[in-house]
Each structure stands twice: as structure tokens, then as C-alpha cells.
């Protein structure tokens, strides 16, 4: 019943938007959300097409990030959900604006950015700041290049880089001691005395205080909303690899390189793997298909490259965390890596 009612509603909307192409785009977007454009059928061989469409493909990372998103509520209260919602809302509005002007349908890429971006923010971030970062990420990180599929940089990381440069105080100094024992589900936001706690990486870099790896593994540490619990991130990453949502080569080579190099430089590989954004970056950021190399060989090169950059930034620059810049720099190399690893017709065995 609901289906037929919705169907007739969409048809009615189509009729009303007749001749107004810009409005029609919005209706098409609604139709696509409700029915996934299932009306389309193959017009030429092959007649059989894969059951996986772009919607499902883009929902995989969201499912994989749900445990980490729930953990952010557990640790930092319901404000985490407010941040995620405001990011989806802002991103959606920006996308709508661009699709209205360009007369193109809204692409599914926003689904991932909308949850990935807030999970990289500190829990104390003002809501307007999160919204601004998201708008910049979507507009400048993606839409001005031509939308999903054409962007050079990971939009979530562009938004975060913008906030880091524009508001360094809010982005690097106001952390929180995570709540424990399920208190997070009953609070909106942790009490003020919990603020200004250094992250494990800061404690290590400036005061040489190591954090026990069990705390890092389960998430009893301060940090960005989604990067606290290594366990849940690994769980989500394995889900993505199991469903072929991502290729295992990038996270594997990235994590292995960080482990190896930090073992050489800091003699403490486990800490550097679990602290900070290595796991979130390895499984969810570096694997963004649009901005990472497409060939297997290139994916190895990419993973090793951002691994080296991450450790170098952590060890030798004023920044505590290097994952974001490492991936953004890696994104710049993606077209070059693709060109160098392109299979030529003659090389085929």
C-alpha cells in the first residue's frame, strides 16, 4: 500500500515538474532514493547486470562506520549524533544547490562523506563549525571539480583540513575524557571539566607519556569522535573488505608501512598504529575509490607512500597527527600513479 501510494506521489510530482528541468532533477532524486531507479533495463549486451548499484555501494561504508558512530555516542554523548545530523543536512543542502544549478541528479557520494567527516572532528566542535567544514568539504572538495567521481581530494579530508587551518584552537586543543559505562547514552555532552585533555599522540609527543594499548584498542582515550576505538574500526574495515566495498591492498600496505617505520623510528609500532587516525584513515579515507589509485600495483604504491608520509609527519614536523595530510598528498599523486601503472595492450600475457 505504501509502495503504491509513494509511486503515485512520485508520478504526480513528475507530471508537475514537466518542463521545469531543475525541479525535475529534484524529483528524480526522490525517485532514486525511494525506488533506486529500478525501472531502467539493459538495452544492449550484457543483458544480465550486477545487483550492486551505486546506492548499495555507498551504503557499505556507512554500515561499516555504524559501530564507530555508536561508540562516539557511548563515549561523548548524543551531541555526536547532532554533529553527524548537521553534517548530513549541510552537505545535502550544498549538493541540492549544485544539482539545481547543474541540472544533474544528486549523487550518492554524499552518504559516505556525511558520516566520515564528523567522525574526524573533536567532540567539542561547535555545531556551526562542523556545518561550515562540511560545506567547504562538499563544495570545494568535490562539487567544483564536477561532483562525485571527478574530485581529486577526499572531500571529508578537505573539510577537515580547512577547519584545522581556520580554527586551530578548536581543532587541536579541546579534547575530552571519554565517558564510561554507558553514561554517554544518557547525556547530551560530557561535563565541562572533562575538556582539554591531551590526546594519546600529544601526550606521547610532548610529554613522552605512553597510553596502554588496551585503552587504545577498546577506546578509553580522548580523540576525534570516530577514531577512539581501534577495535570497532578494524571490525568495520574487515566488513568492508569482506563485502568487496574496499580493496584490502591499501589498508594493508598503509598499516604495514606505518608499523614498520614507527618500529624503526619510535620503537613502538603498536602505539602508533592504534593511536590517532591511522585505522580510520587506512580503512575509510585512503580507500575512497575516487581519490585512490585504481590498479592493484598502484594501490600498493599508494599505501606505502601515505604510510611513510604519516610517520614522517608524526616524527619530524610540528603536527602531532599526519594521517590527514599524508592522504591528501597521496590523493595528489593518484593520477600520476594511475598513469604509471596503466596496463598497456602489449603487456598482456
Amino acid at each position: 500500500v505504501i509502495k503504491s501510494k509513494l509511486e503515485s506521489l512520485v508520478e504526480e510530482l513528475y507530471k508537475r515538474s514537466e518542463g521545469r528541468e531543475r525541479v525535475k532533477v529534484l524529483v528524480e532524486g526522490l525517485d532514486g532514493f525511494l525506488f533506486g531507479n529500478s525501472a531502467a533495463t539493459a538495452q544492449a549486451a550484457p543483458w544480465l547486470r550486477d545487483g550492486l548499484g551505486m546506492q548499495r555501494y555507498m551504503i557499505l561504508p556507512i554500515v561499516a562506520l555504524l559501530p564507530a558512530a555508536l561508540a562516539s555516542v557511548y563515549f561523548f554523548g548524543w551531541r555526536a549524533v547532532a554533529i553527524i545530523l548537521i553534517c548530513y543536512l549541510t552537505g545535502g543542502l550544498v549538493e541540492l544547490g549544485f544539482s539545481y544549478v547543474r541540472k544533474e541528479e544528486i549523487s550518492e557520494g554524499l552518504l559516505v562523506t556525511g558520516i566520515l567527516f564528523p567522525l574526524t572532528l573533536p567532540p567539542t566542535i561547535p555545531l556551526w563549525m562542523a556545518a561550515l567544514g562540511m560545506a567547504v568539504g562538499v563544495a570545494i572538495g568535490k562539487e567544483i571539480f564536477g561532483g562525485t567521481g571527478h574530485n581529486i581530494f577526499n572531500p571529508a579530508l578537505v573539510g577537515r583540513a580547512f577547519l584545522l587551518v581556520a580554527f586551530p584552537t578548536e581543532m587541536t586543543t579541546k579534547w575530552m575524557i571519554p565517558l564510561q559505562g554507558g553514561k554517554g547514552f544518557f547525556t547530551y555532552s560530557p561535563p565541562p571539566e572533562a575538556i582539554t585533555q591531551a590526546t594519546p599522540l600529544m601526550a606521547m609527543k610532548f610529554d613522552s607519556i605512553p597510553t596502554p594499548w588496551t585503552d587504545l584498542f577498546w577506546g578509553r582515550v580522548s580523540g576525534s569522535l570516530g577514531e577512539t576505538s581501534a577495535f570497532l574500526l578494524i571490525l568495520g574495515g574487515l566488513f568492508l573488505i569482506a563485502t568487496k566495498g574496499i580493496d584490502w591492498r591499501i589498508p594493508f600496505s598503509f598499516i604495514a608501512t606505518v608499523g614498520l617505520l614507527s618500529w624503526v623510528i619510535f620503537a613502538n609500532p603498536l602505539f602508533h598504529l592504534l593511536a590517532g587516525g591511522v585505522l580510520l584513515g587506512a580503512f575509510f579515507m585512503a580507500t575512497d575509490p575516487v581519490t585512490s589509485p585504481i590498479f592493484c600495483k598502484g594501490r600498493w604504491i599508494f599505501g606505502v607512500m601515505i604510510g611513510i608520509l604519516t610517520v614522517l609527519i608524526r616524527a619530524f614536523t610540528g603536527y602531532v597527527e599526519g594521517v590527514m595530510f599524508a592522504i591528501l598528498i597521496g590523493n595528489m599523486f593518484t593520477p600520476l600513479i594511475d598513469n604509471l601503472t596503466m596496463p598497456k595492450g602489449s603487456k598482456i600475457k
Partner: protein
């Protein structure tokens, strides 16, 4: 102690009612476990093994379709040698071509129509055959004589002009991998002995050359097929699509591209029947499958039978519109009911062609979904999959997921070539190997952005040829 090859006899003892003719087998014998290890199957990089599709004719015994009321024999460039009104018998020559085997009538009756494309013959219901002389002792006949018989019977090898000193190889394609195509597989299971004799006939006809057989390592036929002949090389293969496309088959079997004649199982059986039974090659086993078919199966039909006659009474009378595909779902073409079944047709697939909407398709757990990714439950349950012409998504920009590159069996980069082809950059497309594409259709199949990659690459290749 992993031992030696046992060269004993063609056939292994088959427990389930099969013919017992000795105990020879292929593979190595492990004395510890007293079990035979089959040789490791060969395969290729890329490709995709389709799941168990609903309405598959797999394993269905071959049924003989009654003699059709009319047949349409496409001319394919041959000139007809009959006139309208002529009476012909089954197996009689109705057309001659310069290089190919003669066209044969597949039923007895009257020539009703001739045009540039085809000859139409109306059956007289008597089904009289021309019979050739039988050569049961074909081993005494020379290659030239054998080729003469094969030529007359319309078997592909017959028209082959053997040149002095030319080294030729024969490769038999005994692995069928496209969804809903099972005719050759089933025929091989049912007529393994005839198949082996057919190989001997072909070998004799081509001057005692070595014969290579690429065969599905999971099939019963492979387990029963012995290797007691030093000219017979059996290559066990993984039944992964598109293993049966000649380019892929040759590379898998020989490790590189070589000059070789490729024949399918039906060609081998036809050679046996022509020489030993004196029967012309006017019948073919085709499979009929798909969710819209009420009775999927394998059918022995006369060449030239119209698809309509094969489908009659075998379709679900549902209200959902369906699409008839001649050939497999990946490489076939949209067919109409008057289209004939030809020598190169492996089967007919009938799938739903509905434009019905589904609410929130992205939330579908996907028990019946066929997908290269493992994003649906079917990947973990191993359940039966539904096939239809639905795209399962909207056309989007490429997000560079890399699936097309992973599955490409000739290891080219479909998305880049398709882009160059679309923008008319044919030089670049050529550099990336646009001409090596074998039209397997896998890149279009896997694409989550639903881009028509195979079609675009085909277009690029066509434009390149035109230059």
C-alpha cells in the same frame, strides 16, 4: 609417494550407472590415502564464476524436439543452389560458399522462400534423410578422404585446406561457462564415447596431429576421460566465465596466443556422426533456460528451427514482459520469435524485462541477487540467483571502484578504454589495447555505476577499424 600416471583405458569405473570400460584415470595416485588426486585445474586472471541461477538447464537430459514445421537457414554469404518450389531432403545441399562447408537442409520439404539472407524450407512431415556411406573403419581412410566426408556433412573442419608442412593444432572447447548455456556440457556427459571417437576422426582428418581438450575439471566427463593416447592432451580448467572464449581458452591452455583450430563439443560429435554413422551435421543441442521458462532443459533441434517453435508451450504465462536472448546473457543478442537457431548458437535464455519498481532497493538483503561484490546475503548463503534485465541502479559517473579492471579476462583497463573511445581518442584507446577486447561483457556486468562499458569499447573498436 605421489605416483605416476596410469595409462589404462578411456573410462573410469563410474559408480552411478555409467558404462564400465576399464579403470584408467587422469591424475596422480596417492598410495597413502589410496585416492587419486586430480591434476590442478588451469585458469586465468580475472573472470567471474556465476552463481546458481534460477531456471538453469544444468544437468537436464537432452530431449529431442519434434521435427519443426519450417526452418530458416541463413546464407551467410553463400549462394543458394536450389530454387523456390524444389523438394529437398534433410542433409541435401542447398547453398555453396567459396571457403566454408556447404549449407544443408535440415528437414525434408519444399523450398518456400529465398532471399538475400536466408532460405526458408517448409516441412513435408516425412523427414527423409540423405544418408552418406558409413566409415566404421575410418582409421584406414586417409586425411583427404576424411575431410571430404566432413565437408559433405557440413562439419567445420571439412573445409580446412591442409597445407604441406604446416603445423596445426586442434583445441577442443569442452568447458561452457556462460549463464544458461549448458548444451555442450550436457552433450559431453551423455556422449563421451562418441566424443572420443570424434576426436580420433578429427585427428585423422588433419593428418594425425595432437589434440588438446580444455575441459571443466568438475565435470563427470573429465573424471571418466582417460589419457591412454599420447596424442590426446587433456587440460582440466576452472569453469569460470569467460573460459570458453577462444582467446582466453588458448591463452590458458598454451600459456600464450598460438595458431590453433578451436572446435566445440558439438563439432566433435558431428565429426563422429558424419564419418561413423553417415549422418549430416543438421542437428544441434541448445539449452533453454531462464526464470521465465517453465521447463528449462537441453533440446536437440534441427539447425534453422525458429526460436518461436522451441519456446512454444515452454514459457510461464505470467503477466511480466520477458526478453528472449539468443546466446548467453553476457554475449547474446536480443532475439525475436522468427529468428533461427544457427550453428553458433549455444542456447536461448528468457528473462524478465520488467520495469516494476521496488521500494528501497538498497535495503534489500539480497538472498536472490547475483553480484560480483559480496554486498548481498546471496554471497554468503550460496542461494539461487534471479536473473533479469534490470540494471539494479541508476547510471552514474565512474567512481573508480576498479571492478572492471579486476574482472577483465584479457587484463586491459575497460573504463579508460571506454572513456577514450567515447571521446574519439582512438590512438590512446589503441595503445591501451582496445583491439584485444573479446566482448565478454563482464565490465558492463560488474559496473556499480551501470556504465555501458562493453558497448562503448565495441564502438571504439568499430571506429578504429573504419579509419
Amino acid at each position: 609417494l605421489e605416483g605416476h600416471w596410469i595409462f589404462h583405458s578411456y573410462f573410469q569405473k563410474v559408480t552411478s550407472g555409467g558404462e564400465v570400460k576399464g579403470v584408467g584415470k587422469v591424475g596422480t595416485f596417492d598410495y597413502n590415502t589410496q585416492k587419486r588426486k586430480m591434476a590442478k585445474p588451469k585458469s586465468f586472471k580475472g573472470g567471474y564464476s556465476f552463481g546458481n541461477l534460477i531456471g538453469s538447464p544444468k544437468g537436464k537430459a537432452i530431449k529431442v524436439l519434434p521435427t519443426p514445421k519450417r526452418v530458416i537457414i541463413p546464407l551467410n554469404g553463400a549462394t543458394p543452389t536450389v530454387k523456390i518450389g524444389d523438394q529437398v531432403r534433410a542433409g541435401e545441399v542447398i547453398g555453396q560458399a567459396d571457403l566454408l562447408a556447404p549449407l544443408l537442409s535440415s528437414i525434408s520439404g519444399e523450398v518456400a522462400r529465398i532471399d538475400d539472407e536466408a532460405v526458408l524450407i517448409e516441412s513435408d512431415g516425412k523427414d527423409e534423410w540423405i544418408s552418406f556411406s558409413k566409415f566404421e573403419n575410418f582409421k584406414r581412410s586417409g586425411p583427404k578422404e576424411l575431410r571430404g566426408i566432413l565437408y559433405k556433412a557440413g562439419v567445420g573442419v571439412g573445409d580446412f585446406k591442409l597445407q604441406q608442412g604446416q603445423e596445426i593444432k586442434l583445441l577442443i572447447n569442452a568447458v561452457e561457462t556462460e549463464p544458461y548455456l549448458e548444451g555442450n556440457n550436457q552433450l559431453l556427459e551423455e556422449s563421451l564415447e562418441e566424443f572420443v571417437i570424434g576426436l580420433e576422426v578429427l585427428r585423422g582428418a588433419l593428418g594425425n596431429i595432437p589434440v588438446h581438450v580444455g575441459i571443466n575439471y568438475k565435470s563427470k566427463a573429465y573424471k571418466r576421460l582417460g589419457q591412454d593416447k599420447n596424442w590426446l592432451h587433456i587440460h582440466p580448467l576452472l569453469p569460470k566465465y569467460p573460459q570458453d572464449i577462444p582467446e582466453v581458452l588458448i591463452r590458458t591452455v598454451f600459456g600464450k596466443m598460438v595458431q590453433v583450430m578451436v572446435l566445440d563439443v558439438q563439432g566433435v560429435i558431428a565429426a563422429y556422426e558424419a564419418v561413423v554413422k553417415g549422418k549430416p551435421y543438421i542437428e544441434r543441442v541448445v539449452s533453454l533456460g531462464g526464470p521465465a521458462v517453465s521447463e528449462p532443459g537441453n533440446f536437440r533441434v534441427r539447425i534453422g528451427t525458429t526460436i518461436g517453435e522451441l519456446l512454444e508451450g515452454r514459457l510461464n504465462d505470467g503477466k511480466i514482459p520477458f526478453k528472449v536472448i539468443r546466446g548467453g546473457l553476457l554475449r547474446g543478442e536480443a532475439a525475436y520469435m522468427d529468428m533461427p537457431i544457427t550453428k553458433d548458437c549455444g542456447g536461448i535464455a528468457v528473462v524478465e524485462d520488467s520495469t516494476d519498481k521496488e521500494l528501497f532497493p538498497f535495503a534489500n538483503p539480497g538472498v536472490e541477487v547475483e553480484s560480483y561484490s559480496r554486498a548481498f546475503l546471496s554471497a554468503f548463503l550460496g542461494s539461487k540467483r534471479q536473473a533479469s534485465t534490470k540494471l539494479h541502479g541508476a547510471q552514474r559517473e565512474c567512481v573508480r571502484c576498479g571492478y572492471c579492471i579486476e574482472v577483465c579476462p584479457v587484463r586491459i583497463a575497460p573504463i579508460f578504454i571506454a572513456r577514450y573511445s567515447q571521446h574519439g581518442m582512438l590512438k590512446e584507446a589503441k595503445e591501451l589495447g582496445v583491439e584485444q577486447c573479446i566482448d565478454c561483457g563482464l565490465c558492463s556486468f560488474v559496473c556499480p555505476s551501470k556504465m555501458p562499458l562493453t558497448y562503448q569499447i565495441k564502438e571504439g573498436r568499430r571506429n578504429l577499424k573504419r579509419q
